[in-house]
């Protein structure tokens, strides 16, 4: 376990060093992504200004929502960008090299690539959460809650992403199926929390856990709701175990293409 963790850290370090070689492109990607994400804040802030507070959600809550979501997305898809290449690798047979590796396959797949733009998401996420902290004058407990929730949400985000990307092994034209499935999970997590009421809220919490990534964490920090915190923790553990099982089951369906591919 410890050895796998050391390998993951080493792979991430090497990936960052390699990406940073193209300095201009590296910086442009980070800055570009940060500006790109600001668009969602602008949209929802204008929304709140035009229609007022909906479902108790203010402009500050929107900032926090975007912060949580961007941070989870950034951490998972910058350090684990290889996961996004899984459908392509399964289709063209380059997945062979992971099967032959003595390391943990999932760790090897995820750390096979680094997403520079994800760093922009991380920067953006941190800035948003800091701004939120100032806007609502957070106390120490809320700061701790934010840190715990970032960890839980990121684990949940990673688990659901693994489950979605495991579909690569079940379909011939998997790239599009996977992107459709992931879209179903990710898009609702970016939306105004006040939009989700009643059955729709339950659906996007317990069936597709999109709201557990950003919406519910914001409400936990705001209302100091320990009940909701335990829901997030339980579902994170559940999805984590489930996604690993799904991934391990899925790779059994892989058929080698006998391509001679090395490296990465």
């Amino acid at each position: 376990m410890m050895q796998e963790f050391k390998f993951v850290l080493y792979a991430i370090k090497k990936n960052i060093q390699s990406s940073a070689e193209l300095r201009t492109s590296f910086l442009m990607n980070v800055i570009g992504m940060t500006i790109n994400n600001t668009a969602f804040i602008l949209l929802w802030v204008f929304f709140v200004k035009s229609v007022g507070v909906i479902g108790g959600w203010t402009a500050a809550d929107i900032v926090a929502l975007q912060g949580f979501t961007a941070l989870c997305f950034g951490i998972v898809f910058s350090f684990g960008a290889g996961l996004r290449k899984l459908p392509e690798q399964v289709t063209n047979g380059t997945f062979d090299r992971f099967m032959l590796s003595p390391k943990n396959i999932l760790a090897r797949v995820c750390t096979s690539s680094f997403g520079v733009s994800g760093l922009g998401d991380i920067v953006f996420g941190i800035v948003c959460l800091v701004i939120y902290g100032f806007l609502i004058h957070v106390n120490l407990l809320q700061v701790l809650l934010i840190i715990v929730l970032v960890v839980l949400s990121t684990m949940l985000f990673f688990a659901v992403a693994v489950a979605c990307y495991s579909a690569s092994f079940y379909f011939d034209d998997a790239t599009f199926v996977v992107s459709g499935l992931f879209e179903l999970f990710f898009t609702p997590s970016l939306f105004h929390g006040g939009a989700f009421q009643g059955a729709m809220r339950a659906f996007f919490m317990f069936v597709i856990p999109a709201l557990l990534v950003g919406t519910i964490p914001v409400e936990i920090v705001k209302n100091l709701s320990m009940g909701k915190l335990s829901i997030v923790a339980i579902f994170t553990a559940f999805w984590f175990v489930l996604s690993i099982k799904i991934f391990n089951h899925a790779i059994r369906r892989y058929e080698s293409s006998n391509l001679m591919t090395f490296g990465g």
Binding site: L22, T24, S25, M28, N29, I31, G32, M33, I35, N36, A39, L42, L43, W44, F46, F47, K49, S50, V51, I54, G55, S117, F171, D172, D173, A174, T175, F176, V177, S179, G180, L181, E183, L184, T187, P188, F191, H192, G194, A195, Q197, M200
Partner: protein, 266 residues
């Protein structure tokens, strides 16, 4: 004549290709359903809270306006910039430039051909569903609506292709245009009236949407509002102006860029 034959051939090939891969249609449909579906529910809730009307716009108007944005986006015209960038960075551009067909025109037909099948399926099914569930606002039943809608739709296609082609051509000068693409794409998303319908725009934002090429590339979202009857000629005029300006920019960019390409053969 040769250009029309080329376009027809590309369209036919790509539509046949797309029909063979239902998974791609699934991806396009889930993308629309997950975004548009949730937005419609959100605005249904908002309009109920606000007594059925905000800034003179009804829920049906807002729903159709957003639907036009999302169905237009299934055409995938923005991808032309990535295609051009890939051609440039992979070196494929030198092969394409040596062919007896105009490169940019080839890319334009290719892009429309790729998107036309999901666009038709999603638009027809989506429009039927919205008409049955939400209904059709009066503003869409006046005689002026259909002809002006078609005009502004064609204008929107041309402006979109020009805007994104400019982004793609920048790849001749900088190594990675992806960040530029993100910024332009988000400007189109905000000013096009995607998540926030134009009826809810603050004044200054409405003006930016009206006079910028980013807003002009999705003017179809304006057609369902009552104001359309009085501003349609102005908006279509703005689209024409942007087509002229961006067309000239592309002409000069492309002529300058082509001089930088060295065809090595082999």
């Amino acid at each position: 004549m040769k250009e029309i034959r080329l376009a027809k051939k590309i369209f036919k090939t790509l539509v046949k290709d797309r029909m063979q891969y239902p998974a791609r249609l699934f991806a396009d449909t889930t993308s629309i359903v997950s975004r548009f579906g949730i937005l419609v529910i959100l605005y249904f809730y908002v309009f109920n809270l606000k007594g059925g009307s905000i800034n003179g716009a009804t829920f049906a108007m807002v729903a159709w306006s957003m639907f036009f944005y999302f169905s237009f986006s299934t055409l995938g015209l923005s991808r032309i910039s990535r295609m051009i960038m890939q051609d440039i960075t992979s070196g494929n551009i030198e092969v394409l430039l040596s062919k007896p067909i105009p490169y940019l025109l080839y890319r334009v037909w290719w892009q429309i051909g790729l998107g036309i099948y999901p666009f038709i399926v999603v638009t027809v099914l989506g429009a039927l569903a919205i008409a049955l569930i939400i209904g059709v606002p009066k503003t869409m039943t006046i005689p002026l609506f259909l002809p002006t809608f078609v005009l502004t739709f064609v204008g929107a296609i041309v402006v979109s292709l020009l805007v994104y082609a400019v982004v793609g051509l920048i790849a001749f000068w900088i190594e990675d245009v992806q960040p530029v693409y993100w910024i332009v794409d988000k400007a189109v998303m905000i000013l096009g009236g995607s998540y926030l319908p134009i009826a809810l725009f603050p004044d200054f934002m409405y003006k930016i949407a009206m006079y910028s090429p980013f807003g002009a590339s999705v003017f179809v979202t304006h057609t369902v509002y009552e104001s359309w009857a009085t501003v349609w000629y102005k908006l279509i005029g703005i689209q024409m102006a942007w087509i002229l300006v961006l067309g000239t920019v592309i002409y000069f960019m492309f002529s300058k860029a082509v001089k930088n390409v060295s065809v090595n053969g082999g």
